[in-house]
């Protein structure tokens, strides 16, 4: 079949193009592109507890033997838990909390091994010991308490709305009638809008970053989820996005720990209380979420529920 020749030529041409693209990536500038936010030197330093012992905690003893902690986090939430695509390093308020806890448990925060865990897998990761604890916009609720333990809460979030800067019609959840509102598919904020504000035109995507992308390209009019997450986005592009209205739910964020490990949970509760008192908590907030312009709130009271 000589007639097929041009198709083959096309194939070859495109293959060459792909190879050139590959070859072109083999050379480049050192390091990573500049990012917004505080540089590493501006971040607060936490005092590492010397000679700290927690023999009752299996998680802690295992980590001590390993020589470092493994912490589950998120990778796509600006100023909470965000992974720099280029350097692979993590930053944000949740990461600062993880570092504080690590310092109090006697591990140098620099040695923490971060692991991105998808929301759907948080419980499993804690149950089968893939991670020592989890810090990533993890709302404490009774259903989850059956599966994992929660230290904290370390932050009080609430569902809110993110809109474009030039938006002046939406001032709160009551103005959502007929507006396109985006949230993560199936998640609690989505179901709340569906139940309480049925007139809103709901759009769902698997991640909030697609929602924010859609907000910026005028596909949707608002994005709704916990205000902490929204603040992070607003802080990245303050000229284009803003938060509106008062939070209309309560989402206490906790540190997820293996359910059986009460010793670790109480140790983290104590550590949290100490860092809130000595100002570390506020410093951590100011260099991360605080960049959105929202002043540091008072940390919520720690719920030191008894071992069960």
């Amino acid at each position: 079949m000589p007639a097929r020749l041009p198709a083959r030529r096309l194939v070859r041409a495109l293959a060459c193009l792909a190879l050139t693209a590959l070859a072109a990536t083999a050379c480049g500038k050192d390091g990573s592109p500049p990012v917004k936010g505080p540089s590493a030197e501006d971040l607060p330093k936490y005092e590492i507890a010397q000679g700290f012992q927690l023999a009752d905690s299996t998680t802690w003893t295992k980590a001590k033997r390993r020589g470092r902690l493994v912490v589950g986090v998120k990778e796509d939430q600006p100023y909470l838990g965000e992974k720099d695509p280029a350097s692979g390093s993590y930053s944000g308020f949740d990461i600062e909390i993880a570092k504080m806890m690590s310092a109090s448990l006697g591990f140098d925060p620099k040695t923490i091994q971060y692991k991105t865990i998808a929301s759907a897998n948080r419980e499993t990761a804690l149950q089968n010991g893939q991670i020592d604890y989890y810090v990533g916009t993890y709302t404490i609720n009774d259903n989850r308490k059956k599966l994992v333990g929660f230290a904290g809460p370390y932050y009080q979030a609430g569902q809110s709305l993110l809109v474009r800067k030039d938006e002046d019609e939406i001032k709160g959840p009551d103005d959502l009638a007929g507006k396109k509102v985006c949230s993560a598919a199936g998640a609690t904020p989505y179901q709340r809008i569906e139940a309480d504000y049925p007139k809103a035109d709901l759009v769902a995507y698997d991640t909030y970053s697609i929602c924010v992308d859609n907000l910026l390209t005028y596909q949707v009019d608002a994005v709704t989820t916990d205000d902490a997450i929204l603040q992070g986005y607003a802080a990245k592009v303050p000229d284009e996005l803003k938060l509106v209205g008062k939070p209309f739910s309560e989402e206490p964020y906790g540190i997820g720990v293996p359910r059986k490990d009460n010793a670790l949970r109480f140790a983290l509760d104590d550590a949290l209380a100490r860092h809130e008192k000595n100002g570390d908590w506020k410093k951590a907030y100011d260099v991360t979420l605080g960049l959105s312009g929202v002043p540091a709130p008072k940390p919520p009271p720690i719920d030191r529920y008894p071992a069960s």
């Binding site: 199936g186 609690t188 179901q191 596909q219």
Partner: protein, 214 residues
């Protein structure tokens, strides 16, 4: 078991979402596929090149990448459309490349002599096409077009992973509500089986009725 009875409306919505997506995307794929197939057998060179590029590129693009590109790329040109339309566009264009190939090979199965004979009888182009070539081609393309449409129905699950009103997407809601995840998936699987087996049955019937008897 009560996963289904408690959430019948959620499942129903998801099921209908998948059906709707499949039907519209199938129509788009059939129309586009037909257009591209006629381009690929046209006597004009640039049409053929266009058809070939369309087919080669789309057949070798991962559907997830295409979804990603359509879903987040087109809005960058100021296009504002609901997600469902984007999903139909992505699915329809992707499948059209496969349909095009099925139709083209169907036309190629018609022996050259048939067309020559028709023309020598004085038939016009339209007559040759309608009375000689297409009826024969149609018969031999039923099974491949059928399997492509089944593949489309199955691929619509990718749309569900991006957004919610689709069968696979229902698992997110039910998972958050704390239902047994295994049973949730059993019912989702059953939903897909119903859809794919229905398409299969329709095409088996068509095949029996009009299938190749040459």
């Amino acid at each position: 078991m009560n996963v289904l009875t408690d959430n019948f409306s959620t499942y129903g919505k998801g099921f209908l979402g998948t059906v709707e997506l499949t039907v519209y995307a199938s129509l788009l794929a059939l129309v586009l596929g037909f257009v591209m197939a006629s381009f690929r057998v046209a006597p004009v060179g640039s049409f053929r090149v266009f058809g070939t590029v369309w087919v080669t590129v789309l057949r070798n693009t991962p559907l997830t990448l295409l979804f990603f590109a359509v879903l987040l790329g087109l809005p960058r040109f100021g296009l504002v459309l609901p997600f469902k339309v984007f999903a139909i566009l992505a699915l329809g264009c992707y499948t059209s490349a496969f349909i095009c190939e099925a139709l083209r090979s169907g036309i190629n199965t018609v022996p050259k002599g048939q067309g020559e004979a028709a023309r020598s009888l004085g038939m016009s182009f339209g007559q040759t096409l309608n009375n000689v070539v297409l009826p024969q081609a149609f018969r031999s393309v039923i099974p491949p077009v059928g399997s492509n449409l089944i593949a489309l129905a199955k691929n619509s699950a990718i749309a569900g992973a991006f957004s919610v009103t689709e069968l696979l997407g229902t698992y997110k809601t039910l998972n958050e509500l704390g239902y047994s995840i295994i049973w949730t998936f059993v019912w989702i699987a059953l939903g897909y089986l119903i859809i794919t087996l229905t398409i299969s049955a329709v095409f088996n019937f068509m095949e029996k009725r009009w299938g190749v008897a040459r």
